[in-house]
Symmetry: C2
Subunit: 385 residues, 2 copies
């Protein structure tokens, strides 16, 4: 195991009815910005629950944070935040809304051009308004981590920043808020969580048993309960397991003391930036191809993954690895997420465009060995056509 430092102070309130806890978490004299997305929280009653919990507290609404939230949109929210002297940001939605809220919280009190926050990957963030979240989609883990992914629409740049100043103070996870999700978002969320886990697990062995077994447990949960959520969307136990699994998949615990890959995310991010595919769609396309390309370097962990997650113990090493990759692909497809560029009407023209973006962003040495070059990315994408 490698040395590590770990701390995660986000307060979690988990379960049906927990939205009422907003009352205890937000100061009575706060001026709250309720940030949300496309309005599904109006239809399913979540926004009404939020307002009921905040009765008597001054609040403003900012709607319209899109998936892969746009810098341009968020800057409107920053202006509102400054104008109305907001003191607390409350994200109500999925990962995109929470990511957006993190940017708003940091940018509202940033002295220079807030694009710097993203250009410097968060290194220049020294303060942020306090923020909290009411999660309505199990997927990104943003509700319990310090990361945020923001897209500049004008330049098709999708980039991330991290800062300990943007950890949510609290997150409320009520699984019943996810009953009304479209199947596409449920499936995307499961794929996103799955890839978060394997990015931190399918690397090379460092004899980190807690982290490995936690990762394997989360993957098994997704395999078992992902299909159930599609089949029976209002099964509370299933939604609860998916929600807590997704949070644990990216709250920092799995990455303690182990190497991490993230090549799939880095390459996928460029595809979303350029072509607007859902985040999870790009992961489902790129992940199997990354494994095909790096199967020798990842051999030991791919074999462990094959055995412990897919129960593959017969046959030679190569066969088990190939089967594990194929089963992963089939699982993504079963969750309704296609795994080939061609499924989305894209062809080999994608390759030079993505390579150019990776180079432009300086993402030229990816993966746990920092040896995935843009040329490798081209080979990976060729395997994903």
């Amino acid at each position: 195991m490698k040395n590590f430092s770990y701390r995660n102070a986000t307060q979690i309130h988990f379960g049906q009815g927990q939205i009422a806890k907003l009352r205890d978490e937000i100061p009575a004299d706060a001026r709250v910005l309720i940030a949300y997305g496309g309005g599904s929280i109006k239809r399913n009653g979540v926004l009404a629950q939020v307002h009921a919990a905040l009765e008597g507290i001054t609040s403003f609404e900012f709607a319209g944070i899109e998936p892969n939230p746009h810098f341009e949109t968020l800057m409107d929210a920053v202006a509102l935040t400054r104008r109305e002297k907001i003191t607390f940001i409350l994200a109500v939605g999925g990962g995109s809304v929470i990511d957006g809220a993190k940017f708003i919280a940091a940018a509202a009190v940033y002295r220079n051009d807030p694009w710097e926050i993203i250009q410097t990957y968060g290194a220049k963030v020294t303060q942020a308004l306090p923020l909290g979240s009411v999660l309505t989609l199990a997927a990104t883990g943003s509700e319990m981590n310090n990361g945020s992914v923001i897209t500049r629409a004008a330049t098709q740049d999708k980039l991330f920043f991290h800062s300990d100043h943007v950890y949510p103070k609290f997150s409320i996870l009520d699984p019943s808020t996810t009953y009304s999700l479209p199947a596409r978002q449920t499936g995307n969320g499961v794929v996103d969580s799955f890839v978060h886990v394997v990015e931190q697990y399918v690397t090379y062995p460092v004899n980190a048993k807690v982290q490995d077994r936690f990762a394997e447990g989360l993957l098994l949960n997704l395999l078992e309960d992902g299909p159930k959520a599609l089949a029976k969307p209002e099964d509370y136990a299933v939604r609860a397991n998916l929600m807590w699994t997704a949070t644990m998949a990216l709250n920092g615990l799995l990455s303690t003391g182990v190497p991490a890959d993230w090549a799939t995310h880095m390459i996928g991010q460029e595809i979303t930036g350029l072509y607007g595919l859902d985040h999870a769609q790009t992961l489902a396309i790129v992940q199997p191809a990354v494994w095909m390309h790096t199967r020798e370097a990842k051999k030991a962990k791919l074999l462990q993954y094959a055995e412990r997650v897919w129960d593959l113990v017969d046959g030679d090493d190569d066969t088990r690895i190939t089967t594990a990759i194929e089963k992963t692909r089939q699982f993504f497809e079963a969750m309704g997420v296609k795994t080939r560029l061609s499924d989305y009407g894209l062809d080999a023209a994608v390759i030079p465009a993505v390579v150019a973006k990776l180079e432009q962003h300086g993402h030229v040495r990816l993966g746990e060995h920092a040896n995935i070059t843009p040329a490798d990315a081209a080979s990976i994408l060729a395997l994903a056509l």
Copy 2:
């Protein structure tokens, strides 16, 4: 899954050489009380590392915190803390030292008789001095939780208190500090961690998959690496896995959203209070007997435990449960911890004495169903003779 709230803000620094981080964690103008036990930290160089890291910071030492730390001893430390206007408590040791430091931190600023802290299970604690720890024994999880167990030697009372005010601000976990432990303490630590996990896992099913799989993973780690630590005490990877496993076993994560038992701990605590057995010895005695007594109520989870931890899939339900209990007992014995009262020279006279203490402490409805009465405890102890 049941509703829950969860937050754990302890900063962890894990790995060889991390004791140097004390410098960053303790304010330069602090007045530090270094609290420790019997002096092994002098022999193995840990205390010297602590002093090197604290160079230039005012510090005092309080030595002699015993296993199952005594209220009477700790009150001497409280007096020193008040007299020297200590502003930070640094525990250097295992769970007993950290538990003791938690009491010192709370008692030093408590206005009434500090025994009230324990009598009220921590409910009256409204503040505490900040504390941190340098852990030298993988066992209790005290380094990342808000609990503490204190013994009043005069009355043989061993009781616990909880308060969010006594979470360590940080804990430094350097696995190499555990190389020099006597085999007895290594074995005890593994048994203690194991029982912490099963107290939160072998109850009744609530379809909490994250919690179940995390628990099963930690148990498998202990089965694999516990014997290795006895065979080869200076294997860093093994010590690291045991240390992180023990921390995860009782940092609040496993108990989110699930029922918990703790009958074994409550009964075991009285045995330590009365007869001075090591904490882990009492757990190894009581746990198999609790399972024999409650095997019908715990049937579903005992079968899951038998299958996922011991790979028992053949034979009827009763046989698998009996085998799983027997294998657990054998594992404790293999870790050098005997599992019968008679192994420690105790006999049936223990039974009325423990029952009387349970009644005196009001612990008359134990277990996840709150239906283990003192009469049940007597039956359990009769199974452990």
